[in-house]
């Protein structure tokens, strides 16, 4: 049983480096970290199943064995639970037959009762068991029919195939989001530890013992938690799968685009995985300083909305018009206005909002920029959500856009044109937004045919969060990069900054022009590029709320 206090010690930027001897070669590694992490810093991957950097160490898979020098000479020990001490001697599979034999043996044991059903398994292609088999074993099976496998599964769910053979527990419905195929489970305990030590709600456990043990929820209790889909990520095999992705795509077909969770102010790092012009799933992307390895179910399922109810053309009154026509109409309306209210959005990138500011600058005193959101703000859950549904609220603040929607409401009579960019005011608070309908020309830029679009006189479709490149600043003042996945519902859609640039004749040709404008307004951005922000983001000085 893993002890919940066995959190792994991970290398940090200020870890003290010490010298150890790995396979006879001296190497500098961070002191006190476990050997899996330490060896990774010098480019040696140690195969493992149960170890996970963001979970307590369980040490039960025994795959990561290395030899270390102990009181009785070199002896096998598990790398995930062996801390680095200065001067220690380590032998990996490169130099030690004992390590090779042990890893090969563990591989044989893992596979002894594991079904060979990779062709129909969702995990194939990203399966730790497949990877480690190729790395450590690649030996034919010694198992034969008279000996037989003992497929895992609860006595209640055992499934007989068409030949009458006991195939273990198939397709066990654990709850609203997750399905368990018990016979593929290798009992690494990761899902149990995730629910207990990260989610804080112990909903899974390993029932029974020995090779007849199996993962289970408690009797008559479902697996039902806002973070429960993370167990499908930590599962090293195809035992736990999410209903949303089960049997949807082969994973090796998926292209991956690194971006940021658009549904929450923490900006959990995610990967949008797409194929054939569709987003098929969202996976968490590890960032120790933001979301560790976790994302909430609602963040994970955000991709579903990318293909629902999209606004792919312009709407003039109730009739559809081509986008280009709608954009030029936008320019005419704003230029002809007595006074225009431009509403920025924390749901869009810094670049999109920079374009709005740039246009306001050209329009001078005839335009005023408002910002903010009427969405309800919750509290952080301590895992991967800040509770703030506006992902770029801090970005607006840095750009100097005030939280002023209520002020706009109070002064609504001053304006004859309203431009709302990617900010669904009518859904957030319909009764407050209703007072804005006093403005005669209401123009909405939106990715979806939402309530704001319905309440507008002119609407223009724009790209959604997964289809644009740009930056957002999270609640902790960390600037993070969004990338565009090739999943546009219509090839004509442009990002909001480009629509605004065209309508306002800004002459911008790429999001870098927009970023440069943002840099002119935000001193702490000076010197940064998309490349230096990188996939993990950068903390901006003095930007935390």
């Amino acid at each position: 049983m893993s002890n919940s206090y066995n959190w792994p010690v991970l290398p940090t930027s200020d870890s003290k480096l010490v010298t150890i001897v790995v396979d006879g070669v001296e190497a500098q590694v961070p002191e006190g970290t476990n050997l899996v992490e330490a060896l990774k810093t010098i480019g040696i991957e140690t195969p493992h199943f149960c170890y996970h950097p963001d979970l307590p160490v369980a040490g039960n898979c025994r795959q990561c064995m290395v030899e270390t020098e102990g009181p009785r000479g070199m002896a096998l020990s598990i790398a995930c639970y062996t801390p680095v001490r200065a001067g220690m001697k380590v032998a990996t599979d490169k130099s030690s037959d004992k390590v090779r034999t042990a890893r090969k043996a563990v591989m044989e044991f893992q596979l002894a009762n594991h079904p060979l059903d990779c062709p129909i398994c969702d995990k194939a292609g990203e399966c730790t068991l497949q990877e480690n088999y190729m790395a450590a074993d690649r030996q034919p099976s010694r198992m034969r029919e008279e000996i037989g496998k003992r497929y895992k599964g609860s006595p209640d769910h055992r499934h007989l195939d068409s030949k009458g053979q006991d195939r273990g527990g198939k397709h066990v419905d654990l709850g609203p989001a997750v399905v368990l195929d018990e016979e593929r489970c290798i009992l690494c305990d990761r899902c149990v530890r995730f629910m207990r030590d990260v989610a804080g709600s112990e909903q899974l456990y390993i029932a029974s013992r020995g090779d007849h043990s199996f993962i289970s929820t408690f009797p008559d209790q479902p697996l039902d938690h806002e973070y429960d889909l993370n167990v499908t990520d930590v599962c090293p095999v195809g035992a736990l799968t999410g209903k949303h992705f089960r049997f949807q795509q082969r994973v090796w077909l998926l292209g991956k685009t690194e971006t940021v969770d658009p549904t929450d102010g923490l900006g959990a790092n995610i990967t949008v995985e797409h194929h054939d012009g569709h987003a098929w799933r969202i996976m968490p992307r590890r960032n120790p300083e933001v979301n560790k390895s976790w994302i909430a179910n609602s963040s994970r399922l955000a991709y579903l909305r990318l293909s629902e109810d999209r606004l792919t053309a312009g709407l003039f009154g109730r009739s559809e018009v081509p986008l280009a026509q709608a954009v030029s109409r936008l320019g005419e309306l704003v230029r002809g206005a007595r006074k225009v209210a431009l509403v920025a959005s924390g749901h869009l990138t810094l670049e999109d909002n920079a374009a709005l500011l740039a246009w306001a600058q050209i329009l001078g005193p005839r335009a005023e920029v408002f910002g903010g959101s009427w969405l309800w703000v919750g509290s952080p859950d301590g895992i991967a959500r800040s509770g703030d549904p506006v992902p770029n609220r801090n970005g607006l603040k840095l750009l100097g856009i005030p939280d002023s929607l209520d002020e706009l409401r109070a002064r609504v009579g001053e304006f004859d044109v309203l431009v709302v960019v990617g900010n669904d005011l009518w859904t957030a608070n319909a009764s407050k937004a209703a007072s804005l309908e006093k403005i005669p020309e209401r123009i909405a830029l939106s990715s979806w045919s939402d309530a704001t679009v319905q309440a507008s006189t002119l609407a223009i479709g724009i790209r959604a969060w997964a289809e644009v490149r740009g930056t957002m600043v999270n609640v902790a003042g960390r600037i993070q990069l969004l990338n565009a996945a090739p999943i546009l519902p219509s090839p004509d859609l442009e990002p909001a900054w480009q629509v605004l640039s065209a309508a306002g004749k800004l002459g911008w040709t790429s999001e870098l022009d927009a970023f440069r404008f943002a840099q002119s307004r935000i001193p702490s951005l000076v010197g940064l590029t998309y490349r230096t922000i990188g996939p993990q983001g950068r903390n901006l000085a003095g930007a935390a709320t």
Partner: protein, 434 residues
């Protein structure tokens, strides 16, 4: 009549406190114990040569010395009465016959380590022993021997009986602690060891029933008298539970170093072997089996059995004669270990069951050439690669039964007409994925 240090009250009704006291019980709860400092008491136990009687034979005084002094955390004493090794039944009888001696030993250990709360973790199946212990504890509390300020000494100790849920692995001390805490009984990663961080992350001493029951005698007669009973390296006496093909199976206390055959043949103890002796498992089912020739050379102490590459273990002697099938005996042992593997570490979880299924196929007459080598290979592969020694406890019988009685296994393999067929069957069934 050999000197008895643990079982002298057997058959005398000592489960009742008045009988126990009339036999000299609880005499140590006075100056004899409480005038000793913690250091002096641990030193006394170290000098007595007492070693843990649960199976590993670790020196008791040294184990106690690992428990930190003056910690802000409570120190717990946990008595390991989860006697589950096949063939072992001494602790059960000890608790039934003389529960007050256990309590007296626990008070001594508690005094040495500064324990305020102690637990007796009893195997779930031992219902009668649990009743006996609870009755004895009640009597002891009523007599002021437990609770606040024991007999005016200023020392206080509470003892609770915890009933296990019936798992062999809970005899492993960290699994026992997990089980005691209410978790699943699975061994913990070490370090930290229980002496530093055991039950509820506090210093914890886990001792076997018999170990603690030797303490009253040692306190009465002194460490020199105790160590004089055994061999120079194995001090004192040991309680053995004898089963199998002997005329009088049972629980016997003998001085360490007694020759094995003398023990089996002696009219005072086992009164001889039924039939012709084929072999002996000297220390519980996991200890490597001895052939009849090896048995003739064995003395019942830690060193002699170690020199024969076996071990004294928990002191469960299983003697068997030439009518017993070595294959059948090993099959029941592998079945036991496959059933009792806690399922935590991969090699043990999958390996013990794998080896068991191979042996089952051999017993069914479906064995093939190479199966024994596969079994030996598996046994070697799941030894020393897991958190606790349960896998080794399965590997030793496999290695020794096959190694020492190989002809019986080979004969069974040869009885399968297809024993030389290639490993994978030719009529591979489509649809069967493996």
């Amino acid at each position: 009549m050999a000197t008895l240090t643990v079982t002298q009250n057997f058959g005398k009704g000592a489960a009742d406190i008045s009988v126990y006291r009339s036999l000299g019980g609880y005499a140590s709860l006075g100056p004899r114990l409480f005038d000793l400092s913690q250091f002096e008491l641990i030193d006394l136990v170290t000098r007595s040569g007492l070693r843990g009687r649960g199976g590993a034979g670790f020196p008791t005084g040294m184990k106690w010395s690992f428990v930190p002094r003056n910690t802000p955390k409570p120190v717990y004493l946990v008595v390991n009465a989860d006697e589950g090794e096949p063939g072992t039944f001494k602790d059960h009888v000890l608790m039934l016959e003389d529960p007050h001696r256990l309590i007296e030993g626990m008070i001594a250990c508690g005094w040495a380590l500064g324990v305020r709360t102690a637990y007796i973790y009893v195997r779930g199946e031992f219902l009668k022993a649990i009743e006996t212990l609870n009755a004895a504890l009640k009597q002891a509390y009523e007599a002021g021997i437990l609770g606040e300020n024991i007999l005016g000494s200023g020392y206080s100790l509470d003892i609770y009986v915890h009933r296990g849920a019936g798992a062999y692995i809970c005899g492993e001390e960290t699994a026992l602690i997990n089980s005691l805490e209410g978790y699943k009984g699975q061994p913990r990663l070490k370090p930290p060891f229980p002496a530093v961080s055991g039950a509820w992350a506090s210093p914890t001493c886990v001792n076997n029933v018999e170990t603690l029951m030797a303490l009253p005698w040692i306190l009465e007669h002194g460490p020199a008298a105790y160590s004089a009973l055994g061999t120079p390296k194995s001090g004192g006496t040991k309680v053995f539970s004898v089963s199998g093909d002997v005329k009088r199976p049972g629980v016997y206390e003998i001085p360490l170093g007694t020759p094995l055959l003398e023990f089996l043949e002696s009219p005072e103890w086992c009164q001889g072997v039924l039939g012709t002796l084929k072999g002996v498992i000297p220390g519980g089912s996991s200890s490597p089996v001895l052939t009849a020739e090896e048995s003739a050379k064995a003395n019942m102490d830690y060193e002699s059995l170690a020199s024969l590459k076996s071990m004294l273990g928990s002191g469960a002697v299983i003697a068997f004669n030439d009518t017993r099938s070595a294959v059948g005996m090993l099959a029941s042992l592998t079945r036991f270990y496959a059933h009792e593997s806690c399922g935590q570490c991969t090699p043990c979880r999958e390996g013990t069951g794998y080896a068991d299924r191979i042996l089952k196929a051999i017993v069914r007459g479906e064995g093939r050439d190479g199966d024994l080598d596969t079994m030996l290979d598996l046994a070697a592969n799941f030894s020393y690669t897991t958190i606790c020694p349960l896998a080794i406890a399965d590997a030793w019988p496999i290695e020794n039964f096959i190694g020492k009685f190989r002809s019986e296994f080979d004969a069974l393999l040869a009885s399968n007409a297809g024993h030389a067929d290639s490993r994978v069957t030719s009529d591979f069934r489509p649809g069967a994925f493996w």
